[in-house]
């Protein structure tokens, strides 16, 4: 089959022009074509564990918690199940522990030996931990654990271990903030 060169060239030019116009239009308008529905749904939330420290408070929606922990001189105190982490949705989200903040760089810190936050799965296997150990007036910070996938309906838990120095004075305290990140 024989083709006219000029016609072919025109056809190609036309196609390129059409594509350019289409692409340019898409580039301008595609961000306006987002539509969706937003529903309020919490698929992972906290629950009180069997070792829920007295004086602790659960936040609204069970997505935040204020724990009232204790530490004793020269003895390790373990809250075997301070908190539950419930997967209430039908999916398999991944969770991890992430450090946010802790009292640091003051003489108060020297009263402590360590504060260890441990994430355990439904079978009690360790899924990661953030152990904040003390050196002088400073906590050595633990940044983040790896994401671990929760099975449908599984209930995981958080164990907390604290220890104060042998000569620690009662009344000294530190504040700690940890995030439980959930990726769905």
């Amino acid at each position: 089959m024989k083709l006219n060169y000029k016609k072919s060239l025109k056809l190609i030019t036309l196609l390129i022009s059409a594509l350019l116009i289409g692409t340019a239009s898409a580039a301008i308008y595609y961000s306006l074509n987002i539509s969706g529905t937003v529903t309020v749904a919490v698929t992972v939330c906290f629950g009180q564990g069997s070792d829920w420290p007295s004086g602790s408070q659960m936040g609204t929606g069970n997505t935040s918690v204020s724990l009232s922990l204790k530490a004793y001189p020269n003895t390790t105190l373990t809250y075997g199940q301070a908190l539950k982490v419930n997967n209430t949705g039908g999916g398999t989200p991944s969770v991890k522990l992430r450090y946010i903040s802790i009292t640091n760089g003051t003489a108060t810190v020297a009263n402590f030996t360590f504060i260890n936050i441990v994430l355990l799965d439904n079978l009690g296997a360790q899924m990661g931990y953030l152990n904040h150990t003390v050196s002088g007036n400073y906590f050595t910070l633990a940044s983040s654990t790896d994401y671990k996938e929760m099975g449908i309906g599984e209930v995981w838990s958080i164990r907390i271990e604290t220890k104060a120095e042998p000569d620690a004075s009662a009344g000294n305290y530190v504040s700690l903030q940890i995030a439980v990140d959930v990726q769905e």
């Binding site: 724990l67 204790k70 530490a71 003895t75 105190l77 908190l83 000569d167 700690l176």
Partner: protein, 185 residues
């Protein structure tokens, strides 16, 4: 007039189309929903709820939460430590060996709780462990319990048994670990 092959023209068109589609494809993104839950904790140092007291041959460290006991060959049923429950809760006690040094010379070393009822926690016979921990021992409100020891050796030296006194709150998994070291000369 130049003649062109249709197949060749098609190929050029497809190539151009591909080149335009590829850059657009890079604009496609994927992602996951993400949220975080917050744990805020305040941790004060508190006075011990259960304390150790020397009865005999014991050195109690600051704050009464750890001790070193030193006894000699031929010691028999000697109360060395007293454990005082100063809380409003029932607890349970258990002695757990976590390390030792030079125990082969111990022909008999038995350590037990008693407040009338005895509960053997650690037992070494002829240099080998018969028991490295005991059963949970009731430690009710207002109770005092003793740690008692019997020891005999077959050589001059010093042996050490390093233990944790586990103090478990009844019906929970909240517990303390106190370090107690036994030295047998």
């Amino acid at each position: 007039m130049i003649k062109f092959n249709l197949k060749r023209t098609k190929k050029i068109v497809y190539l151009l189309l591909t080149l335009f589609i590829l850059p657009e494809a890079t604009l496609i993104v994927s992602g996951n929903t993400f949220f975080c839950m917050i744990i805020q904790a305040t941790t004060p140092v508190s006075s011990p709820l259960v304390i150790l007291q020397n009865v005999t041959n014991s050195f109690i460290y600051t704050n009464n939460t750890s001790a070193r006991v030193t006894i000699s060959n031929g010691t028999s049923s000697l109360n060395v430590l007293k454990i005082l429950n100063q809380t409003n809760d029932d607890w349970k006690l258990q002695l757990i060996r976590y390390d030792d040094v030079n125990i082969s010379r111990l022909t008999n070393c038995t350590i037990w709780f008693h407040d009338g009822i005895a509960s053997v926690q650690i037992k070494i016979i002829n240099g080998s462990y018969n028991q490295t921990s005991g059963s949970l021992y009731d430690f009710p409100i207002g109770n005092d319990t003793y740690i008692t020891i019997t020891a005999s050796t077959n050589a001059i030296s010093t042996s050490y048994i390093y233990t944790y006194l586990k103090i478990l709150k009844s019906d929970t998994s909240t517990y303390f670990l106190y370090q107690i070291t036994f030295g047998i000369t």
